[in-house]
């Protein structure tokens, strides 16, 4: 689909809004509907929007595999860090920052979100790069 002015502007307006909603869903996940998976999927729809409309991808953007690996690293660090403070493995340690009552479940959720984002990006980049003759869309 060739990008037109309208689609460009629409994507420009919608993408930050979608990302904001996704971040909000991630943040409030512990106490209200939301969480890492959902936030990442919503953000993934922003990625899908940009790819569908035909916007050329930024060459410096992170590969899906890098995002996924980063997410897994965050998850593992969150799981093993409590060991250093005498807590058991994968313990959700409460942390109070300036009146906000958080636990280490939040960085774990962020790690989950990164992984889902990475997966969505790899899927979309394959479709975006698809060319005639590579077998996608062949009816058996």
């Amino acid at each position: 689909m060739t990008p037109t002015i309208i689609s460009h502007v629409a994507v420009r307006l919608l993408t930050p809004a979608i990302w904001t909603i996704a971040a909000l869903l991630l943040w409030q996940g512990h106490n209200a509907p939301g969480g890492g998976f959902i936030g990442a999927l919503v953000a993934g729809s922003a990625l899908a929007l940009a790819d569908l409309v035909g916007c050329r991808p930024d060459p410096t953007r992170a590969h899906g595999a890098t995002l996924a690996a980063a997410g897994l690293a965050v998850g593992l660090v969150t799981a093993t860090a409590p060991l250093a403070f005498g807590h058991p493995f994968l313990d959700a340690v409460p942390v109070d920052i300036g009146g906000l009552h958080l636990t280490t479940a939040l960085p774990f959720d962020i790690g989950v979100a990164l992984i889902v984002l990475g997966l969505v990006r790899t899927l979309l980049s394959d479709l975006a790069q698809a060319r005639p003759g590579d077998g996608i869309g062949d009816v058996p």
Binding site: G29, H30, N31, V42, G44, S45, A68, H101, L119
Partner: protein, 754 residues
């Protein structure tokens, strides 16, 4: 941490990992990275000295950090005599290999080797210092993974060997997991002290012994798992030197020694180890004598020597265990420099084939001298350490059975033979005119000389090993109060006479082998067998799948609906009826919306219409979740619907706008199957709904989510808190999937002429 003093061993492991991480930074700043990395190893050795001193006096230091205290899981390390001996091998040879790598490989490959080899050293240190079976297993598997990366190299040519190694050692790791689980459950604890103190319990311990032995055999390349070692020779020489001479293959030996006090009383232990060990020793020797590639000779030799050590451990009595430990040290001391020498010959002359080598005595004189000394140690000649250890092995086995002695003698004859062939074929005789080379740089030669020098020195004063061996024996055979008296000269003993006969026979055999020197028609090659098995399994899968794959998509759907439907109906028939919950007013509205959408989906002519309608149906289902009080589910459904529709549209873009016309008969068949599937699902849902009240686990979560986790969203707290371990496993799978898709994305594509 419960610690007696500073936890030097875990810190040492951490330091090695830090060194590995720092290698690229270091490589950008200095040309002597090899020396710096080697310095790191020496520093770790220094850190371990205080604990090692305690160990050498027969004591033990342990450190334990609880991971999940409720389950009794912790990260535990110890330093005792056995650990000290093996740690010295791991770190000492490691330092030499680091210097060697600097001179052997060009910059980019060297950086990769330094990093991975140091991570490997850290894992190996973890294996030898583990104080409980869980810690041991974690580091054991780490060595398998790192070895896969090292053998695989940059992915060109190393893939088969790496895959074989990983599959074989991975399978062994599974066996080991099963074995130690049996032991831990039976003994009532995971730490070695508990397991060693427990009473062996018949069949359970016999099974555990077999499984543990399997784990050790795969790692130490015993028959019939030895083939992976030869395939691993495609790796660069520093890798072969470190992994396949000094450390990884020694892990199996270490495991057998560590668990020997617990398992040596089990009836099957001795026959299993002795048989497997002796068979391997002879087979490995035969392979070494038949091989033409220098490294293949050394691989066969390693397998053979390890077989000898395994058999000796199997004997179980203190003299045998001590002999095994001494021979392990001696083997590391002569095998590492021999691998390094093979690497030097390869590096300088670019030839590794014995049929094309010869007469390098004049071109590489210093290399030749060093190789000669190391070779003499391998052949068991005085005054080298190899002689002392070989005598010890002979003494330990002589008193057991004459058959065993004959086996050891045969293995030793083969050893002398292939050693002589290795050395003479490379350095003696006439030099082929096309063969050029000169002595290598000090970076390559010095590590080789140091390793050989250790064997020479300890050969002259083997008494220096008495204390370490005694200390190791307190761990391996507690209560035996063994006193080692290693010496070069014990008088004219029967063992000495056997050694003399062995040497003479071996030299004759070598001369005969070298004179024959034609490629052998019969190659007993386990690697071909393994690859054949691998291909056979894949072919079997293909055959089994063929009837399925031959079906059209329609056919597959029909089969799935029929089989799955039948299965589910049978399962649900046993479920008691429940009361259906009342239907809400909003749900009737939804039904009114979904039915027309479904009709449109079935009758629409354009693909885009179908995609839109499918999305609409998905949204309606999401509204259903909201009505029923599951907002997280609804959000997930909407987001997944959106992405799925995007993917469907992206695929549909490539096809025509309209569907092809379908003949009437197919419509009838497809329609019937669809109606049947829909009816089936409706039946199942109606039967299952309301058949079971809220489970007690769900009750607990609903009541205590806020108290335990501080969150009100139970779904989310289950995901990231109560069942976080499950989530960790799931995201690992997702990451692997993402990596797989990414690899698929970067596949080479067929370009269509436009």
């Amino acid at each position: 941490m419960t610690a007696e003093g500073l936890p030097t061993v875990p810190l040492g492991i951490a330091l090695l990992l830090a060194v590995a991480a720092a290698v690229p930074w270091c490589a950008r700043r200095t040309r002597h990275t090899g020396l710096v990395v080697a310095g790191g190893y020496v520093l770790v050795m220094a850190m371990l000295v205080p604990a090692a001193t305690v160990a050498l006096r027969g004591g033990m230091t342990a450190w334990r950090h609880p991971v999940v205290a409720d389950l009794g899981l912790s990260l535990s390390f110890r330093m005792d005599g056995l650990t000290a001996v093996f740690a010295a091998i791991v770190l000492g040879i490691g330092a030499l290999v680091m210097v060697y790598t600097g001179a052997y490989a060009e910059r980019r490959q060297a950086v990769r080797l330094w990093r991975l080899l140091t991570v490997f050293a850290a894992s190996m240190l973890g294996v030898v210092s583990a104080d409980d079976v869980v810690t041991l297993l974690v580091f054991w598997e780490a060595t398998s993974v790192v070895s896969f990366l090292l053998i695989g190299g940059d992915g060109v040519g190393g893939v088969d060997g790496a895959r074989r190694a990983l599959l074989v050692t991975g399978a062994g790791g599974m066996a080991l997991l099963a074995g130690v689980t049996l032991l831990a459950v039976s003994a009532g604890g995971v730490d070695f002290a508990t397991i060693v103190a427990a009473e062996p319990d018949g069949a359970v311990w016999a099974t555990a012994a077999i499984l543990v032995a399997l784990g050790a055999f795969t790692k130490s390349a015993q028959a019939p798992f030895g083939f992976w070692l030869r395939g691993a020779m495609v790796a660069p020489t520093p890798v072969s030197t470190y992994l396949h001479a000094a450390t990884m293959v020694k892990a199996g030996v270490f495991l057998l020694l560590r668990l020997s006090p617990a398992l040596s009383d089990v009836a099957i232990w001795t026959p299993l180890l002795v048989t497997a060990g002796m068979v391997t020793a002879v087979l490995g020797g035969v392979q070494a004598i038949r091989a033409y590639d220098l490294k293949a000779v050394l691989a066969g030799s390693t397998v053979s020597q390890l077989g000898l050590i395994v058999a000796t451990i199997g004997l179980g009595h203190p003299a045998a265990l001590a002999a095994a430990i001494v021979h392990t040290v001696a083997h590391a001391a002569f095998k590492a420099p021999l691998f390094m020498a093979a690497g030097i010959v390869d590096h300088q002359t670019h030839v590794r084939d014995l049929t094309r080598l010869g007469g390098l005595w004049s071109s590489l004189p210093r290399t030749a001298v060093v190789t000669a000394v190391a070779a003499l140690s391998m052949a068991g000649m005085a005054p080298l350490l190899g002689f002392v250890s070989k005598e010890a092995v002979l003494t330990a086995t002589a008193h057991t059975s004459p058959w065993l002695l004959a086996g050891v003698a045969l293995a030793s004859v083969l050893t002398v033979a292939y050693t002589a062939r290795f050395f003479a074929g490379t350095f003696l005789g006439g030099r082929p005119p096309s063969l050029h080379g000169h002595d290598p740089s000090p970076g390559l030669l010095v590590p080789t000389m140091v390793a050989t020098g250790v064997g020479l020195l300890l050969g002259f004063v083997p008494g220096w090993l008495d204390k370490p061996v005694d200390a190791a024996m307190t761990a391996v055979a507690p209560g035996s109060d063994h006193h080692s008296h290693l010496a070069l000269w014990h008088g004219v003993t029967p063992e000495l006479l056997v050694s003399v006969a062995v040497v003479a026979t071996g030299v004759l055999l070598a001369v005969a082998a070298m004179r024959r020197d034609r490629p052998s028609a019969l190659r007993f090659d386990g690697a071909a067998g393994f690859d054949g098995l691998h291909r056979g399994i894949l072919r079997l899968g293909g055959h089994t799948a063929r009837p399925w794959l031959g079906l059209s998509t329609r056919g597959q759907v029909i089969w799935v609906v029929a089989l799955a439907g039948a299965g589910m109906v049978a399962a649900v028939a046993a479920v008691p009826h429940g009361a259906l919950p009342a239907t809400l007013a909003g749900e009737w509205l939804l039904l009114g919306a979904v039915v027309p959408l479904a009709v449109v989906a079935v009758t629409a002519r354009t693909r885009l219409a179908v995609s839109g309608v499918l999305g609409g149906v998905g949204l309606a289902v999401s509204v259903l979740w909201v009505l029923r009080g599951a907002p997280d589910l609804a959000l997930t459904q909407i987001a997944v619907e959106a992405l799925t529709i995007v993917i469907i549209v992206a695929v549909f873009r490539r096809l025509s706008d309209r569907f092809d016309t379908i003949p009437g008969r197919r419509v009838l068949v497809a329609g019937s199957v669809a109606v049947a599937a829909g009816g089936l699902v409706t039946f199942l849902v109606v039967r299952v709904l309301g058949s079971r009240p809220l489970s007690s686990t769900a009750q607990y979560y609903l009541e205590h989510a806020h108290d335990d986790t501080g969150g009100y969203n139970v779904v989310n707290t289950i995901l990231v808190d109560f069942r976080a371990l499950d989530t960790l496993g799931e995201i690992t799978v997702l990451t692997v999937a993402a990596l797989g898709v990414a690899a698929f994305v970067s596949r080479p594509r067929r370009e269509q002429p436009s």
